[in-house]
């Protein structure tokens, strides 16, 4: 799996999680649900964003390293 694919999959995973949570919230709407949202669900996306940033950075580095240290000559 390439970094780009992993990034897409991770973003999809958090999107699906949020969609499923939104559906659950329509049925589960007491204080416990609100606490669960604050303490668990809302904690996830910022961490995913940070990880995605890391994916992007390391993905660019891998491409750079492959280019700079690869077999190819300019001529």
């Amino acid at each position: 799996m390439s970094v780009q694919v992993a990034k897409t999959n991770l973003l999809d995973a958090v999107k699906v999680l949020n969609e499923r949570w939104e559906r659950a919230k329509q049925v589960w709407e007491d204080q416990a649900a609100r606490d669960f949202q604050t303490q668990v669900i809302e904690q996830i996306e910022p961490k995913v964003r940070a990880a995605i940033k890391g994916f992007d950075q390391v993905g660019e580095l891998i491409l750079l390293v492959r280019r700079e240290c690869g077999d190819d000559y300019l001529s």
């Binding site: 799996m1 991770l10 416990a32 961490k47 940033k53 390391v58």
Partner: protein
């Protein structure tokens, strides 16, 4: 109705759990995949590349030497005439270019080998908060959900409609109490005191839920200010119990517009916070649909104007219909209520 609420609630918790587990699986796979790429790149840099470019530098050095030798050979062969070495000099230049590139690449490999570990650590550091969520916080949250599901199952098992006392864990005598009543004994509006026969047994009135339930449903209305004033002047008027004490309300009664409220001697012991109050349905009072135990505070938050009713003394029974008080009986079933004009 309690059954459908039960299935609904437990199902939704199961769905949240499944959603979290799926997320953990997908996110872990994504992180592992990128981490593998980082590790593979590191391995390639540290083991394959140095050898490769060392070999390439040597190869290009040899190519340069070979190109130079070819030029010398042609010059010697043509001596004393000038030799035509245009092609050989082009080959020499290309060999030198490639040697220079090989040297540059060997230096870059050295540079990346020195820094890759740091980049790899930076990547891991960036993913650490997500990893903590995936491998610590979410498992804890799932454990929390499982406890909630177990509590909810247990609560609804205990508070299920009393159609089978043995099966739902309630005292068989209490569960069957209402069932054994003959329809002929059913109270009517003329004999509200008969409602006392349908009060659930003490264990059903004190079993507090271990999780938070949805806000209390209430359809019997709120007593008017005039009714409250009249109530406060009755002989049964007293002080309402501390708001952290509990009362039991029939699940079915929460959905009906006509209910009775009765204050009994509080159940004492076993951690009970019972205030003695029970709220049940007037119509078909034997079918209570289980009991919900909640604090006086919860009830007053939902229906503040019940405060004067809840202040009545032990033994009082009142009937409330759509916010209108219909009866107030003293402990001897004497009617005290005269509807205010």
């Amino acid at each position: 109705m309690a059954d459908s609420a039960r299935i609904h609630s437990v199902q939704v918790l199961q769905e949240v759990k499944a959603a979290l587990l799926d997320f953990v699986k997908e996110a872990s796979l994504a992180i592992t995949s990128v981490d593998s790429d980082v590790q593979r790149t590191g391995l390639w840099l540290t083991t394959d590349r140095p050898t490769h470019w060392k070999h390439e530098v040597r190869k290009q050095e040899e190519a340069v030497e070979a190109a130079k030798a070819e030029i010398r050979r042609k010059e010697l062969a043509a001596f004393p005439n000038p030799a035509d070495t245009v092609l050989e000099r082009k080959a020499l230049k290309r060999a030198k270019d490639r040697l220079e590139q090989a040297n540059v690449k060997r230096d870059r490999v050295r540079k990346w080998v020195a820094t890759w570990e740091r980049e790899s650590m930076a990547f891991k550091g960036g993913c650490a908060p997500l990893n903590e969520i995936l491998h610590r916080d979410i498992p804890q949250a799932i454990s929390r959900l499982e406890k909630m599901m177990a509590s909810l199952e247990e609560y609804f098992r205990m508070a299920a409609p009393s159609t089978d006392g043995a099966a739902n864990g309630l005292n068989a005598a209490s569960a069957s109490m209402a069932r054994t009543q003959d329809d002929a004994d059913a109270p009517n509006d003329d004999r509200p005191g008969d409602l006392r026969r349908f009060i659930p047994m003490p264990e059903e009135r004190v079993l507090e839920p271990t999780i938070e339930l949805p806000p209390l449903e209430w359809n019997a209305g709120t007593p008017s200010a005039e009714d409250q004033r009249v109530l406060a002047r009755l002989d049964v008027a007293g002080t309402h119990p501390p708001t952290d004490q509990t009362l039991a309300v029939s699940w079915r009664a929460t959905r009906l517009d006509k209910v009775y409220l009765v204050r009994l001697d509080p159940v004492i012991g076993g951690g009970s916070r019972d205030s003695g109050w029970y709220i049940g349905p007037v119509e078909d009072p034997r079918t209570i649909g289980g009991t919900r135990v909640c604090t006086i505070r919860e009830v007053l938050d939902r229906v503040p104007s019940l405060a004067p009713l809840l202040s009545c003394n032990i033994g009082t029974l009142a009937v409330l219909q759509r916010g209108s008080i219909k009866n107030v009986l003293d402990p001897h079933d004497r009617e005290l209520w005269i509807t205010p004009v």
